[in-house]
């Protein structure tokens, strides 16, 4: 029964993801016909009586496709981290931003940019690691501040998140105040939250981190389900709560760090997507975690398509779009469905 439901949900979301990617390839500043898009995509495999210019082929395959892949990966990562943090804290308000993990990651990446270690072709591949390092430091700090007698009470967790978040935000401000105007420009641009058509090795590095994190988090789906009934009850069933928490913190830091290194500050995805998924599909993490992964990808690909085109040829930060789309959607869901899921 569970398997059928999982396959149905994943099948539907995969179809949705394919549609979102095709839409992202089709819509852009430069108008390219849908027939041409199909030709460019399928022309390598079969011969199609359609013609298109070389510039259009480059736009679709080297600008829009890598960007859609990156948007999908970042969206998955943020939603996955949100799902993990919400499950482990049993609090719908937890997400990489609220817990300060994103701020830590952003600080790590800013340090990578300012020290120059993250520049150049090889350095670009190092930035996810800078993000991971920053996210991990923040996560360990939150964990350390919040834990009371080896436990992680919700109240202290959220307060610790606020403290750590503010600390790293201030650290970024301090670093920005000390650098020259020329360097500041790069940092501000990064912090605004942009998705770019980066190279495939960079996307590969981010995807690698996200897949690793996703595997770690999904492996804890059943223990997380048991923990939702309370730590003592779960412990009686053989779950080691602290071990699960550590794994989730580590894995969520990894995916957050990778996402933030690639896109800067993109908010609302981690908070909204897993929440919406649970509101639609129920709280079972075996379903909610993989569904969040796909739904996050769909959401950010669509949001980025809007960001690229709404003020073309100027691109607006994708973070602004996620907030504008996310906030009202979230508000409506919360008003209509909240009671049935979080009684």
């Amino acid at each position: 029964m569970m398997l059928v439901r999982l396959l149905t949900v994943m099948g539907t979301l995969t179809a949705g993801l394919m549609t979102a990617v095709l839409l992202a390839l089709w819509v852009g500043t430069v108008r390219i016909g849908a027939v041409q898009i199909m030709g460019i995509l399928l022309g390598k495999l079969v011969s199609i009586p359609v013609s298109w210019s070389e510039a259009h082929e480059t736009i679709v395959l080297s600008v829009r496709l890598p960007r859609a892949l990156l948007a999908g990966t970042v969206g998955s990562a943020l939603a996955l981290a949100g799902a993990g943090f919400q499950a482990i804290s049993r609090n719908p308000l937890a997400d990489p931003y609220v817990l300060g993990v994103s701020s830590g990651a952003a600080f790590g990446v800013v340090m990578g940019i300012l020290t120059g270690l993250g520049a150049g072709t090889g350095g670009v591949l190092l930035l996810p690691l800078f993000g991971f390092a920053g996210a991990l430091v923040a996560a360990v700090a939150v964990y350390g501040i919040a834990s009371v007698d080896g436990r992680l009470p919700i109240q202290t967790l959220l307060l610790a998140g606020v403290v750590v978040s503010l600390f790293f935000a201030s650290a970024i401000m301090l670093a920005s105040a000390l650098v020259r105007a020329e360097e500041l420009q790069r940092v501000v641009f990064y912090l605004m939250g942009h998705l770019r058509a980066v190279s495939y090795p960079t996307i590969g590095a981010v995807i690698g981190c996200v897949l690793m994190g996703a595997t770690l988090i999904y492996a804890q789906a059943v223990p997380l389900n048991l923990l939702s009934a309370g730590e003592e009850a779960a412990a009686q069933l053989g779950v080691e709560p602290e071990r699960v928490k550590r794994i989730i913190f580590l894995a969520c830091s990894l995916v957050t760090g990778a996402a933030v290194s690639a896109s800067g500050a993109v908010g609302f995805v981690g908070l909204m997507v897993p929440h919406a998924v649970r509101l639609c599909l129920g709280p079972d993490n075996r379903l909610a975690i993989p569904a969040s992964l796909l739904a996050g990808a769909i959401f950010l690909i669509l949001a980025d398509t809007v960001a690229r085109t709404v003020a073309a040829p100027t691109e607006i930060p994708v973070g602004a779009v996620t907030a504008f789309l996310g906030a009202p959607f979230f508000a409506v869901l919360l008003r209509t469905r909240y009671r049935s899921v979080y009684p």
């Binding site: 510039a55 480059t58 080297s62 520049a119 020259r180 100027t314």
Partner: protein
Amino acid sequence: MWALSILLVLSGLPVQAATFVDMAGRRVEVRGLPRRIIPLTPSLTEVLFALGAGDAVVGVTDQDDYPPEVRGKTRVGGGLDPNLEVILTLRPDLVLATVDSNRWDTFLELERLKIPVFGLKPAGLKGVFTSIQKIGEVVGRPEQAEGLIVTMRRRMAAISEKVKSLSRPRVLYVVWIDPLIVAGRETVIDDLIRIAGGENAVRTSGFPPYGLEQVVAHPPDVILLGSDRPGSEDGTLLRRLPAWKEMRAVREGAVRLVDTNVMHRPGPRIAEAVELLARLFHPEAFSGGVP
């Protein structure tokens, strides 16, 4: 005439790829004479037009406004985040970008898309001249570049000659008032102030964040405020700000608004900027006009 006929003969030959080393130390391969060029900062556009290569410019940034001919050119977005789709559609055979005002990511993105991107570094007066010379080489107009540089140098030398025996006012160039950002040493503005017969009140290099206390401690004789609409403000802004309004330069009305588009663009118009500054510093020397 013979140059034209050689050009015609050459254009019939198969396209030769030439390799240039740009000011970032990168090797850039350019196939033949560039005919479809996209400059990614307004100063680079101004250089191309000054070299007579304006017709080859197929796209400019949103910030471009000079010369007036740029109005008809396709816009490729901002210099910091140019739209790659628009750039690709324009099929450029050369993109010019600066190391300081464009992002390194843009270089990487264009490289990945196999578009030759040539990097310039017009930092300081020397950098501006080297940039013009390098652009001349890469777009096949080295003589025009040489000519432009000579003309600019002559014009600046004439002004410098006029003001060299006069007293040198201490000048504070304010790029941004709040937070305070000023033009320091090793910037084009610093060079321009010196040639125009002034002395930069700021000792640190680049565009450092600056403290109001430092301004008070090294009081300037003249304060220049960069403005993109110099006609629209009256320069009395500083008279309303605490600490500023007590400064001698402000009390005595030695505050001048200058056009940032002329002052901040490290391009051919810096000779114009020098004259503008010299006239502000030493109006008495220009009663007869510049020869």
